[in-house]
């Protein structure tokens, strides 16, 4: 309750929430506003926004409705963001928890692997994945999740390292509680809030990664992705710059919304910082 009040009282957090709801609304209503396939031919190519009332945001170089692509693209971006983030967080929590709680050689091995993932530029690794497994939307999503887990793993590990030596955990051990129960029922709930907050960062990065991949035409060409549209607009950038500009704004707004919500959650969860 107190948490909710704290959240609602912060203007940036509220702006973020409203923006996010708008994007979600676009994703949900895409089929209703634009029932046709957004990638199908809709009219003359390169109609400027506002020039034809049928195409509010104009058409791209192959005559497809930009507004339809923006609405359907919201769906793709959010879906990729949520699924990739879930994969990254789940992997990260399990690996971080095991490393942090057990320490010793388990920790050494897991941390070496984590380091390897962090040393290799994640976009480069993403390119390798795409080169090997192809670029349909499912592969791309899983690949983004698979390159994003090291940060939450480190975060979870750090939380576990401090929590496992806290006296309440020692108290659980002195009453004879088993390891599994201590990890999942006692420590994890206390370690979770910062990791959950961090999920917003991963989601923001996941959306940016996918759009960058799509911009390079290495993502699924058969879905209405904002990045695809920006890449397409690049060919007509010098005059019809709006083709690239509009989807870019959509990405910016979505990532901004996710970040603002994440920061709002963080501030609401850390009352000490909120006072500042």
């Amino acid at each position: 309750m107190r948490f909710l009040v704290a959240y609602l009282r912060s203007p940036p957090a509220m702006i973020g929430l409203v923006l996010l709801l708008v994007v979600i609304g676009m994703a949900l209503s895409a089929d209703w506003f634009y029932p046709r396939d957004p990638l199908s031919l809709a009219g003359r190519p390169l109609i400027w926004p506002g020039a034809n009332p049928r195409f509010l945001l104009g058409t791209d170089n192959s005559g497809r409705d930009i507004a339809a692509q923006i609405f359907h693209g919201a769906r793709v971006s959010l879906l990729i963001g949520v699924v990739a983030t879930s994969i990254a967080i789940a992997l990260g929590i399990v690996i971080g928890a095991l490393a942090g709680y057990h320490g010793g050689w388990v920790d050494d091995v897991l941390m070496r692997v984590t380091e390897a993932f962090q040393t290799l530029p994640n976009f480069l690794l993403l390119l390798v994945f795409v080169a090997v497994f192809g670029s349909d939307i499912v592969t791309v999503t899983i690949a983004i999740g698979a390159v994003s887990w090291p940060a939450p793993a480190r975060l979870t590990r750090a939380e576990f390292l401090t929590l496992r030596n806290r006296e309440f955990v020692q108290a659980c051990r002195t009453i004879g509680m088993g390891d599994g129960r201590i990890i999942f029922r006692e420590i994890l709930p206390n370690a979770l809030p910062p990791v959950i907050v961090y999920a917003s960062v991963i989601m923001a990065v996941a959306i940016l990664l996918e759009s960058a991949l799509a911009f390079l035409r290495l993502s699924d060409p058969n879905v209405a992705s904002w990045g695809n549209l920006i890449g397409l607009g690049r060919d007509v950038l010098r005059v019809q710059w709006y083709v690239s500009a509009i989807p870019g704004v959509a990405i910016l707004v979505t990532v901004l919304a996710v970040s603002l919500v994440g920061q709002g959650l963080n501030d609401a969860l850390n009352p000490r910082l909120r006072k500042r």
């Binding site: 806290r166 309440f168 108290a171 659980c172 002195t174 009453i175 004879g176 006692e186 709930p189």
Partner: protein, 535 residues
């Protein structure tokens, strides 16, 4: 004698939404030259806020809303920031509680002391270096030239506090404010620092405002005493008068709660040994990569002790003596490298993990930190019921038992529904006790169970512990750094130093006639050792 620093009806307002409107209310104090005035009170009494208000270094949102602070003909409550800056450090200097964090970790000690001269006096660098060295010599820091070049982490806690004092006294301030300067230190170091402060104060005629929660320290060092409660000065007067003939009921209660260093008459002890600690060893190896730079710490080396049934065995020592490690070895939170822990003949260290979990119910532990030892996300009742549930009790039965235990430790059984943060420190320690008792243990290992509590709460918890010991026929291993507390609760005492027991025996004998030089030094260091409240 006229006052150097004079607080006249000083009132400090807290921001809206705080648990009270004023941090300080109408505080009037006079600090004279060449005296030590102790401001004493429990947590939340506003004693530290008084210091911050004088220095005008209040936390954001907190402001002086009335009264005056007279110093050298100025009113510091209304002085502008420039005037304040000139006074801070030069006119009124301050020493803080945590020498660990009060110095900038990235700059050398000498550099930080020299900064005093750079900002207030503008001396040439060579002279600054010489003055800094002289100061470090004056506070009797070992190897002063080396200490000046050292970074804070390279010095011990006591040395850091000496450096802080050197810094504070650099410009011969008229007033020195010391905010719990010895609270974070071990008792022998504390005695040295108190002695140093007293000595320097006498020599320089400085007026010292000494803030503390410890009546022992007051008895040791104070010329006059002011007692604070909830932001109000309830009593002030000469030290001897306040300590021995307190007038205000709150002062009376506080003074009465101070445990005397003399042990009460011994209780008869059983011949039957319930717990035997046999040459227990624990060694830590740290920082070694491929065997280079490895350091070996012998935390516990070959400790052997007996705990008779129904008795309390005190383990006392300073930080790093290995007493906490020993406590954790007994319950196998730390695996010892060697030795045996025999509970009525069964060696706990020989048990496998599963068997140990079963045996765990017979030896339970009470922890130091009333905040950290309770999972903030579980209700108080659940925390107490957890143990029996792990050992097979039904949740309903365990919950009913939890309510009984709450009553036993003096808590409202209805409070089982509340979360830990809704309890005070003393109440939390009672929850911790109830949790340990839920498994009906024979032996209780208590690791500094009252160190984090205010003196009046501490007295209540100790009384409760003594009562439960009688009623449940508990045998207790009681770890503490506080010799006064040890004197009151222990039957036998073991003194530890650097992982070894240097002396042990009945508490009355050890405390009145210590044999080992370290025990003697330890007892001699207890501040105000002769002070005992009039019964």
């Amino acid at each position: 004698m006229s006052a150097v620093l004079s607080l006249q009806g000083l009132t400090v307002a807290l921001p809206k939404g705080a648990d009270r409107a004023h941090a300080l209310e109408n505080v009037s104090l006079d600090l004279n030259a060449n005296e030590i005035l102790c401001v004493v009170g429990e947590s939340g009494s506003g004693k530290s806020m008084t210091a911050s208000a004088i220095m005008r270094l209040l936390p954001p949102g907190v402001r002086i809303s009335g009264g005056a602070v007279r110093f050298e003909g100025k009113d510091l409550a209304t002085a502008d920031e420039r005037t304040m800056r000139a006074i801070r450090g030069a006119g009124i200097a301050m020493v803080f509680q945590e020498p660990m964090t009060a110095l900038n970790p990235l700059r050398t000690v000498g550099d930080q002391i020299g900064e005093m001269f750079r900002i207030h006096a503008g001396l040439p660098a060579k002279q600054i270096a010489a003055r800094t060295l002289a100061l470090l010599e004056e506070v009797r820091i070992p190897h002063p030239a080396q200490a000046a070049r050292a970074y804070p982490h390279e010095l011990s806690g006591g040395q850091r506090q000496r450096a802080m004092i050197a810094m504070a006294l650099a410009l011969d301030p008229k007033v020195l404010i010391a905010d719990e300067p010895t609270t974070a230190l071990d008792v022998t170091t504390q005695a040295q620092i108190l002695h140093l402060i007293r000595d320097l104060q006498r020599r320089k005629g400085t007026a010292v405002l000494f803030i503390t929660h410890d009546f022992g320290v007051v008895a040791e060092i104070a010329d006059r005493v002011a007692v604070m409660q909830h932001g109000v000065v309830v009593e002030q007067g000469a030290a001897s008068q306040v300590l021995h003939a307190p007038q205000h009921p709150y002062t009376k209660a506080l003074v009465a709660a101070v445990p005397p260093l003399h042990a009460p008459p011994p209780r008869p002890l059983s011949d039957d040994t319930i717990l035997r600690i046999e040459s227990v060893q624990k060694t830590y190896r740290t920082g070694g990569f491929l065997g280079r730079g490895a350091r070996v710490t012998h935390a516990v080396r070959g400790v052997t002790l007996d705990l008779p049934r129904g008795a309390t065995l005190g383990v006392v020592g300073e930080s790093g003596s290995g007493k906490s490690t020993l406590a954790r070895c007994i319950v196998r939170l730390i695996e010892p490298d060697g030795g045996a822990i025999r509970l009525e003949g069964t060696n706990l260290l020989a048990l496998r993990r599963r068997e140990m979990r079963q045996a765990a119910r017979r030896v339970q532990m009470v922890f130091q930190d009333p905040f950290g030892s309770l999972n903030p996300r579980r209700r108080a009742g659940e925390l107490v019921a957890q143990g029996p549930i792990v050992h097979g009790a039904s949740p309903a039965a365990a919950m009913a038992r939890a309510k009984e235990l709450f009553a036993l430790v003096g808590l409202d059984p209805a409070a089982t529904e509340r979360y830990p943060h809704e309890f005070s420190g003393g109440q939390r320690q009672r929850i911790g006790l109830a949790r340990a008792l839920a498994l009906e243990p024979e032996v209780l290992v208590a690791d500094e169970p009252v160190s984090a509590l205010d003196v009046s709460v501490q007295a209540q918890v100790l009384r409760l512990l003594a009562e439960l010991r009688e009623r449940l026929n508990l045998s207790i291993v009681f770890i503490t750094h506080d010799l006064r507390v040890a004197a009151q609760v222990c039957d036998i005492v073991a003194v530890m130093k650097e992982g070894e027991v240097v002396e042990h025996g009945p508490i009355g004998r050890v405390f009145t006639d210590p044999q080992h030089a370290y025990t003697q030094a330890l007892l001699a260091s207890v501040p105000g050792r002769d002070f005992a409240p009039a019964a």
